[in-house]
């Protein structure tokens, strides 16, 4: 089903890929060298635009994690413990959450994780070096998926293994359709739609405002609540809707440096998951607002930038994903204003202003007027 389908590996392939990691360590020790693991550098200095894929991927810079330092040696030992744990799960046809794995590591002695974050990172490292997905590893995220409201119909395989048909406008309550953590074909099918575009919304308050105002029906769109920095499954379902239904995607967020990063992770790929950007990023997504221009144009109530905000903006100027004329302008304007604004600041002009005036005007400028 199109180029966006994630390549899945069978059990044997997964185990073989994991063994290669262990073999690199073992081979080196047999030669009298400290064991090691080679990884791409996972920072903004090592992501670059992939012309063929149209998204940002890790570059060529590699980092070597070897057992010459205690911290790195522990990482290697933990990696081996994860490998063993994954093999056991594959054999017994079980799966676990990343959090469960963190607790299970309590029994791994010196291979025990120091924090949940560390175990998440190591699982990602393994994905990267083995070119597998964590679904292949039988590992589930804890993270909260998005919710959707709009006239689209999906089929989801429920826990009894039956396919359930759900219309995301008529078959759901006010909280909408909850996106599961696995949104691949084996679990979720996109069946039918009657919408013109998809709008991804940063905050729950704005999502609920648009629903109360009946915006999804009026503007013929599907609304997706991102819940802050969007989970993998959220980005993946947006990508599938874009690919399979060819619908435009717009992002409606606050005007602050962190919201810019939310957009970047949807449209260009996140730094942490740059190894799978081609499955998660939707290069067609457009940033609708709120822009720095909007703060001036609509005279929106604003807050001063904090120290952290200023630092984040500065970092974005050198982030290759924001290296476009438009973004550089927006970031510099924001630095100049020294201000940021929330989506809900539009309420200054009344509760209906966002749906009656702001969104129609903004959508009009990108050819989605209704």
């Amino acid at each position: 089903m199109g180029m966006s389908e994630a390549p899945r590996k069978n059990r044997k392939q997964v185990v073989e890929a994991l063994h290669e990691v262990a073999a690199e360590m073992h081979n080196r020790m047999q030669r009298g060298d400290p064991p090691r693991m080679t990884l791409p550098v996972r920072s903004k200095t090592n992501i670059s635009f992939d012309n063929k894929l149209g998204v940002f991927k890790y570059g060529k810079n590699k980092t070597v994690r070897d057992a010459t330092k205690l911290g790195s040696a522990r990482q290697l030992l933990r990696t081996l413990h994860i490998t063993e744990f994954i093999e056991e799960m594959i054999d017994s046809e079980k799966s676990s959450t990343l959090r469960e794995m963190y607790y299970i590591s309590e029994g791994w002695g010196n291979g025990k994780f120091g924090s949940q974050n560390e175990s998440n990172n190591l699982a990602e490292d393994l994905e990267i070096v083995t070119k597998c997905l964590r679904e292949d590893f039988k590992l589930r995220p804890e993270e909260d998926g998005a919710r959707i409201i709009g006239n689209i119909t999906v089929e989801e395989k429920n826990r009894r293994g039956e396919w359930m048909r759900i219309n995301c406008r008529d078959d759901v309550g006010d909280s909408g359709y909850g996106v599961p953590y696995n949104v691949e074909e084996e679990k979720l099918k996109l069946v039918d739609e009657d919408i013109d575009f998809v709008m991804a919304i940063e905050t729950g308050g704005m999502f609920d405002r648009l629903i109360e105002n009946g915006f999804d029906e009026e503007a013929r769109c599907a609304l997706i609540h991102l819940k802050g920095q969007p989970a993998r499954s959220t980005r993946r379902i947006i990508r599938r809707i874009s690919d399979e239904w060819k619908k435009p995607v717009v992002v409606f967020a606050d005007c602050d440096p962190w919201s810019f990063r939310i957009y970047a992770s949807i449209a260009y790929g996140a730094i942490k998951t740059a190894h799978i950007s081609e499955y998660l990023a939707t290069k067609e997504a457009t940033y609708l607002g709120i822009t720095a221009d909007d703060i001036l144009a609509y005279d929106l109530p604003s807050d001063d930038l904090t120290k952290q905000d200023i630092g984040a903006l500065e970092a974005e100027l050198s982030d290759p994903r924001f290296n476009t004329g438009w973004w550089q302008e927006q970031i510099k304007l924001m630095q100049e204003l020294g201000k940021k604004a929330e989506q809900q600041s539009l309420a200054k002009y009344g509760l209906d202003f966002v749906t009656d005036t702001y969104l129609p005007e903004k959508l009009d400028t990108i050819g989605l007027g209704y």
């Binding site: 262990a22 020790m29 040696a73 522990r74 063993e84 010196n110």
Partner: protein
């Protein structure tokens, strides 16, 4: 002949000054200006007296202070010691007259110099509450104790006794008869306050510089509920040594003092006046002084005119004189500073230094500094500074004190403490003790809370600070090296074998031989030392383990610092070796093959548990050793030379005349800083 009773001997030395009414007018100078301060001063006078008396009578002091609120602005103070007691006939004198200690009459380092004396407490109580001071005194040779209530006739500067009786004194708490000691009970207008300026803090500080004393404090409210308590148990049974009284040195004499001495002199000739009343004046120097001042040797001192006295003062500064003897000083000494600090502060590391005594304007003085670091000390805020003059805590006017200023003048950043702005009081989990021992402490004011500026004293304090600073820096460097070495050991001994095991299991392969991997990861020789206490043998043990994790065989000489002294010896030393310098022993080790390790052990006798908890290890040989410092041969040579010179000087001193000043040859007293980290220190060894 029976030795004169100690108590009588002490009290007879106290001369009197008739300044009874002085007190009322000068309460603020004497430490009774506020109700919060009054109780601190009162406790201080009582405790200082107890400590001085015990020291002279060679008794290990047990002092108990009890404070109880009787009214909202009144406190009852009870102070009890196990000192020699005061003979009945001297009680009036001690408690009823202003005793200005011995400082105007003989030069010696005593605590008493610094206060108005216990009479001030009796007077303050009487003035504020009308209460009499109850004294119980028991002298060992008497069969019973004296119980007496005292007041003061402020006009006549005389004690008024009442309700005097003799009785057996039973200690209320133990129920046993007291064989010797003193108990004072009085009531005064005062308020108890906690915190940095409190009786608690005063006693805590006092206990630090008096490790030989056990001091306890109980503070109770009106209902008898304990609101504050402190108990500092002695950590040493070594009493401070008896200090010799010395005569004033001409360099420190002012015209007025000289005139008074001339007037009071019973000598018939000026030459004998100079010889009997001053230290450092040889007969030849006396002749030179008189010649220069144009005074005939046979003149009677009483008849010397003011201009002639003036000429003598000038001559004092010109004629070459011997230094005053230094045995009038009583330093705490570094090991005891460590013990004292450990009594009050829980820390990880202590660096202490006792500088050699030196002289400023004819007054011998000596600086001691102790620095503690880590442990329970808070890393927030400025470090605690504990100032002492002649073992008496200085609690007020910290900022205006020379001792503080000298500390602030050190660049602590380079020794591992934070110091915002590059000067001032540093921050971090540390406390610094600084003790000035001197026959004549100069204060900025009568309140005697801040030492006034004196360049020689300032420089000595600063040098001492630099020394303890170097100790701290060395400690921090060693801690971080030790941590690194520990991590490496964990890496190759625990984690690496697990990686080998787990990867082999996963792949179904054989476990690899890790020896070459370990050599590659470590590629160094590691040394770890461990100090411990052996309970059975009562030895302070040092165990040095050396691992050769390189691909080549190595041969080294290992040198260790140890606390060599009169009381200590290297009792256990199966490896032999030889002494390289004072406090430095060397062992030549057999060749250490790649991948092997060896342990070097030795034990020191003459120390107590916890006395020795840090040492330095040096090495000679090819290649570095992680955890040890390469021996600096040039510095070692210098130290050897200094030691040889010191020994020679000691030889000369011993052969010189028993009565000071008869031999003409002036002895240049060497001033090698005592207990310095002499060798192996990098960079800043020039101070």
């Amino acid at each position: 002949m029976i030795r004169m009773n100690e108590a009588e001997e002490i009290s007879s030395k106290q001369k009197q000054a008739s300044i009874g009414e002085f007190f009322e007018k000068n309460k603020h100078f004497l430490g009774f200006d506020t109700q919060q301060r009054a109780i601190i001063t009162a406790v201080k006078e009582a405790v200082d007296n107890s400590l001085d008396a015990c020291e002279e009578a060679r008794i290990l002091p047990d002092i108990r202070v009890e404070l109880r609120r009787t009214k909202s602005d009144e406190l009852e103070m009870i102070s009890q010691d196990n000192g020699p007691g005061i003979p009945r006939d001297s009680i009036e004198g001690v408690f009823g007259k202003f005793l200005l200690g011995s400082r105007f009459h003989a030069i010696r380092q005593t605590r008493g110099q610094q206060g108005i004396g216990i009479t001030g407490v009796v007077m303050y109580s009487q003035l504020t509450t009308g209460a009499k001071t109850r004294v119980i005194s028991k002298v060992k040779s008497d069969s019973s104790a004296v119980f007496v209530d005292l007041g003061i006739d402020t006009k006549k500067n005389k004690a008024i006794k009442s309700s005097e009786k003799r009785d057996i004194w039973i200690d209320e708490r133990t129920g046993e008869e007291v064989s010797h000691g003193l108990k004072i009970t009085t009531v005064m207008k005062a308020k108890y306050q906690r915190g940095k300026k409190s009786v608690y803090q005063y006693l805590r500080m006092t206990s630090i510089v008096n490790p030989h004393a056990s001091i306890s404090l109980v503070v109770m409210d009106k209902e008898g509920e304990i609101i504050e308590e402190g108990n500092w148990v002695r950590t040493s049974n070594k009493l401070p040594r008896v200090v010799e009284e010395i005569k004033p040195h001409p360099h420190g004499i002012q015209l007025g003092t000289l005139q008074r001495m001339l007037r009071e002199s019973t000598d018939r000739r000026m030459t004998s006046f100079l010889k009997h009343n001053f230290s450092g004046v040889s007969p030849r120097a006396a002749k030179e002084i008189l010649g220069m001042a144009d005074i005939e040797e046979g003149r009677t001192p009483k008849r010397i005119k003011p201009e002639e006295a003036k000429a003598m003062i000038t001559a004092f500064q010109t004629v070459k004189l011997l230094k005053p003897p230094m045995d009038c000083l009583s330093p705490i000494e570094d090991l005891l500073i460590k013990k004292g600090l450990s009594k009050a502060i829980d820390s990880r590391f202590a660096s202490t230094v006792t500088r050699s005594p030196t002289v400023s304007q004819g007054n011998p003085f000596q600086i001691e500094v102790g620095l503690v670091f880590g442990g329970d000390l808070s890393s927030e805020g400025p470090i605690e500074i504990l100032r002492f003059a002649n073992r008496v805590p200085l609690m007020y006017q910290q900022g205006g004190c020379l001792l503080t200023k000298a500390l602030e003048a050190v660049n602590w950043k380079s020794y591992g403490l934070e110091q915002p702005g590059g000067s001032g009081i540093p921050k971090g989990p540390a406390a610094v003790l600084v003790h000035l021992a001197s026959t004549n402490v100069q204060f900025t004011s009568e309140a005697k809370e801040a030492v006034s500026y004196n360049e020689e004293v300032f420089n000595e304090v600063r040098k001492a600070m630099l020394e303890v600073g170097r100790g701290l820096k060395n400690h921090l460097k060693k801690s971080s090296e030790r941590k690194k070495a520990k991590e490496k050991f964990e890496l190759v001994n625990i984690i690496l074998p697990e990686i080998a095991k787990k990867s082999s299991e996963l792949l179904g392969r054989e476990e690899p031989d890790l020896a070459p991997v370990i050599t590659q990861i470590m590629n160094a020789v590691f040394l770890e030392e461990e100090l411990s206490w052996n309970k059975e043998s009562r030895l302070s043990m040092c165990s040095v383990t050396i691992h050769n994790y390189t691909a080549r065989a190595r041969a080294y000489t290992i040198l260790a610092k140890w606390p060599e002294g009169e009381d200590t010896s290297m009792e256990f030393n199966p490896r032999g070796g030889r002494k390289e310098a004072k406090g430095l022993w060397a062992w030549r080790l057999d060749t250490l093959d790649p991948g092997t390790s060896t342990v070097l052990e030795f034990g020191i006798s003459g120390l107590s548990k916890g006395d020795w908890n840090e040492t330095d290890i040096f090495f000679r040989g090819n290649g570095e050793i992680i955890g040890a410092t390469r021996m600096d041969e040039a510095l070692l040579d210098e130290q050897r030379k200094a030691e040889a010179l010191e020994a020679a000087v000691e030889e000369v001193r011993r052969s010189s005349a028993p009565s000071e000043g008869i031999k003409e040859r002036p002895i240049e007293v060497l001033e090698p800083s005592a207990n310095t980290d002499w060798f192996g220190m990098e960079g800043d060894g020039n101070e």
